[in-house]
Amino acid sequence: MEDLTSAPQDVRGADGAADTSDDALLRQFADGDAAAARVLTDRLGPRCFSVAMRMLGNRAEAEDITQDAMMRLWKMAPNWVAGQAKVTTWLYRVTLNLCVDMQRKKRPDRLDDVPEPEDEDPSAVERLQEAARKDALQVALSQLPDRQRQAVILRHIEELPNPDIAGIMGISTEAVESLTARGKRALAAILAGRQDELGYEDG
């Protein structure tokens, strides 16, 4: 058996498959091609992890969700019908559903996750200010209703086009536009400390 776990650099996919579609790679994997799994991991794993990180704000949980979502991809591979949908659409949807399930089981207090400043070194302070700004976005995102948060992350952080987001969330593009607009307004208000003025309606 080929050793795929000896070193991280060995498990990443080869650039030679850059032109191969996700559909084709999934079919190759279903037909027994181990290399196809490495390329798919390289291509889809970071997207999955990035969304999970933004949805959950917790690295360990995001890693678990990513591994779980990719495991579902491997198991689903033989049943995949090429051309019916994008593999990425399927994977984003699974990832978001897993995130929502995890959040329903456990609602952590994200404000406690913001790190405290440790020293007065100017560069360290600068880094901490930057970290605090990033955390501010994460804290604000965590206060959005699920659907608004998903739409904002997919549109404004993952930079997906609205029709793709509509496919992932199972709604119309108009509904995506509405969710992202309301989500952005809500985020701006939360960051400005005006959350009391917001309606938190979802959908």
Partner: protein, 123 residues
């Protein structure tokens, strides 16, 4: 500062934060990549592995014993031909039923009345 200007500034601040978030999307950690590929390999090998004999039904194992589905097809065809020949034998073949039960000695019990049976016993 009026309300509209304040909102526009908040939105601009948010756009900057989102732009920063886009630029700093996390890479897939190496150890996670290893775990994902290991999972894929486990699934792939599991799929390639033939079903273990213990998980196969008695019927499937019996089928394997007589040569699998292909031999079962031949067996069914031969059985069907046997039934057909028995039911409607060609003229040049002797009637197996006539060999075993010759026509002249045969009679149909249903044609006899109950009295006839008792009379035979009495004789």
């Amino acid at each position: 500062m009026n309300w509209g200007t304040k909102m526009a500034e908040d939105e601009m601040d948010l756009d900057q934060l989102l732009a920063k978030a886009r630029q700093t999307r996390p890479d897939l950690p190496d150890d996670l990549a290893v775990r994902i590929v290991t999972d894929a390999e486990t699934v792939r090998l599991d799929r390639l592995k033939p079903e273990s004999s213990s998980r196969r039904s008695v019927w499937m194992r019996m089928l394997d014993g007589i040569g699998g589905w292909q031999s079962m097809g031949g067996l069914v065809a031969a059985s069907a031909a046997g039934v057909w020949i028995g039911w409607s034998a060609p003229d040049f073949l002797p009637d197996p039923a006539a060999i075993i039960y010759p026509q002249e000695n045969s009679f149909v019990v249903a044609d006899l009345g109950l009295d006839a049976l008792f009379l035979e016993d009495a004789e």
